[in-house]
């Protein structure tokens, strides 16, 4: 009887130990399996994100190439349609018959040709300025942006102003040009689509970052719209902005103010002071 009890007790312990060990091992294997399964899910999600990012890059690259081509076409059209006829007209005035004409007529022809050549010079200067604003090159981003906003304000159609809070140290020339182009594109979009009553540019610095913010009270877009348009085949200007911001290693945020009365576009770029 005692032996039987001892034997039963021993079997009970064996079973408990066996079940306990089995349970613990099952638990351990379940934990390992769960970790692996979860990781696989995370990796799959990350690779999808990476793929989307690559697609976005491709769209931006295509947009940037298309924009460059459009810009070239525009310059070619300006030169061909405006400068070409002007110079051809001037050539007509200065043909070989000029020597056979009367002095008064000669003077008249030379005067007209001179006027046409002046117009051609002005036109070429305008084209050149649209490619690289001289104010930006000579006096920096602050002057160029202020100048741009003053010109818009002077038109009288809307109230435009710019204020630079801290621009004692200029950015690198390349950075200034890219920021100016982004501001120009944003302003163009606002003028074209927003129907706003005011437009205001602010600049400030915080740490090693520089911030630019454009406010306007017209129709605007928010970040979700910007992301959507950047991914679509539409919105070449926005894609161009996105690619320029990428070159700047910066960020751009499109928001609506909490009061829902005006839109804000904020650009954040790393500060790289010109040497």
């Amino acid at each position: 009887m005692i032996f039987l009890q001892a034997n039963n007790n021993s079997t009970g312990i064996d079973t408990a130990m066996f079940l306990g060990t089995l349970g613990m091992l099952t638990l351990a294997i379940a934990i390992i399996g769960f970790v692996i399964f979860h990781q696989r899910k995370v990796i799959r999600y990350n690779s999808q994100l990476k793929k989307l990012e690559e697609e976005k890059q491709q769209i931006l690259l295509n947009a940037s190439i298309r924009f460059q081509e459009e810009e070239r076409n525009r310059i070619a059209a300006d030169l061909h349609d405006d400068a070409g006829p002007l110079l051809a007209t001037a050539r007509l005035y200065l043909n070989e018959n000029l020597v056979n004409q009367e002095k008064a007529q000669q003077l008249q022809s030379i005067f007209s040709a001179k006027q046409i050549l002046d117009d051609a010079i002005l036109l070429i200067r305008n084209i050149s300025h649209s490619l690289m604003p001289p104010t930006l090159k000579n006096f920096g981003l602050e002057s160029a942006a202020t100048d741009l906003f003053q010109k818009i304000g002077a038109s009288g159609s809307l109230n435009a102003s710019a204020r630079f809070h801290d621009y004692r140290t200029r950015l690198k020339v390349d950075q200034e040009l890219l920021v100016f182009r982004v501001i120009q594109e944003l302003v163009n979009n606002i003028l074209k689509h927003s129907n706003s009553g005011f437009i205001h540019l602010t600049q400030n610095i915080s740490g090693n970052k520089m911030y630019f913010r454009i406010h306007h009270d017209g129709t605007g877009i928010v970040q979700a719209d910007f992301e959507k348009l950047s991914h679509s085949t539409l919105g070449l200007g926005l894609k161009n902005i996105a690619s320029r911001i990428k070159v700047l290693n910066g960020k751009i945020f499109f928001e609506i103010d909490a009061s829902q009365t005006y839109f804000k576009v904020t650009i954040e770029i790393p500060r790289e002071p010109a040497i």
Partner: protein, 210 residues
């Protein structure tokens, strides 16, 4: 590339091998069971210390790392207390069970941290995963065994089962550790945060007129 973690793991394997050789020499050549049990006690303290140090490189939480550090001290004191309170020299089954349950907790926490990370490559491509799997299986498989051994080790039927389970678990652990040696760790790619925390409201240009 030989990292500090790998060096610690190498030291761990060498020390364990030396202690096992010493232990078996005492048991089978010098026939001194008391000295063998003492060596086992030294073995488990060293094993736990080195494993805790090894996992401290992989656990990122500072608080948990501090707990890991203090657990080594606490475990050392517990082993001394267990040794001092023992009337007849025997295998330190209780310290062994405690070691395994603490290790289990820390490995599970390590896996929890792994699940929080954003990764680009599967965890099973890293040596630490196989080492963790080896020890989690070893600890889970031996925990109940050591717990029951304290009271039933003298039973011959139990000893038979003990040998089967312990040997199986140890063989699996060693196979997994061998796999971990074969794994070549890749350098992790750092991911950038997607969100940006800025507050530009301090320079709002327009004060709205009411």
């Amino acid at each position: 590339m030989v990292t500090k973690e790998k060096r610690i793991f190498f030291i761990y394997t060498i020390l364990i091998a030396i202690l096992v050789i010493i232990g078996f020499s005492l048991l089978y050549i010098l026939k001194s069971r008391e000295s063998y049990f003492l060596i086992v006690r030294v073995y488990i303290v060293i094993e736990y210390t080195l494993l805790a140090y090894f996992f401290s490189f992989y656990i990122k939480s500072r608080i948990v790392n501090k707990i890991l550090f203090f657990s080594v001290l606490a475990y050392f004191l517990f082993c001394i207390y267990s040794y001092a309170n023992e009337q007849i020299p025997a295998m330190p089954f209780l310290p062994l069970s405690v070691e395994h349950i603490i290790l289990l907790c820390f490995i599970i926490y390590y896996f929890f941290e792994v699940m929080q990370e954003i990764v680009l490559e599967p965890i099973y491509q890293k040596a630490i995963f196989w080492i963790s799997v080896a020890f989690i299986i070893n600890s889970a498989g031996n925990f109940f065994l050591f717990l029951y051994s304290k009271s039933s080790y003298n039973d011959s039927h139990f000893q038979q089962q003990y040998t089967i389970i312990y040997t199986t678990v140890t063989v699996i652990k060693n196979i997994l550790l061998c796999i971990s040696i074969l794994i070549k760790d890749h350098i992790e790619e750092k991911t950038l945060p997607h969100t940006l925390d800025i507050n530009l409201d301090s320079f709002h240009p327009i004060t709205k007129k009411s």
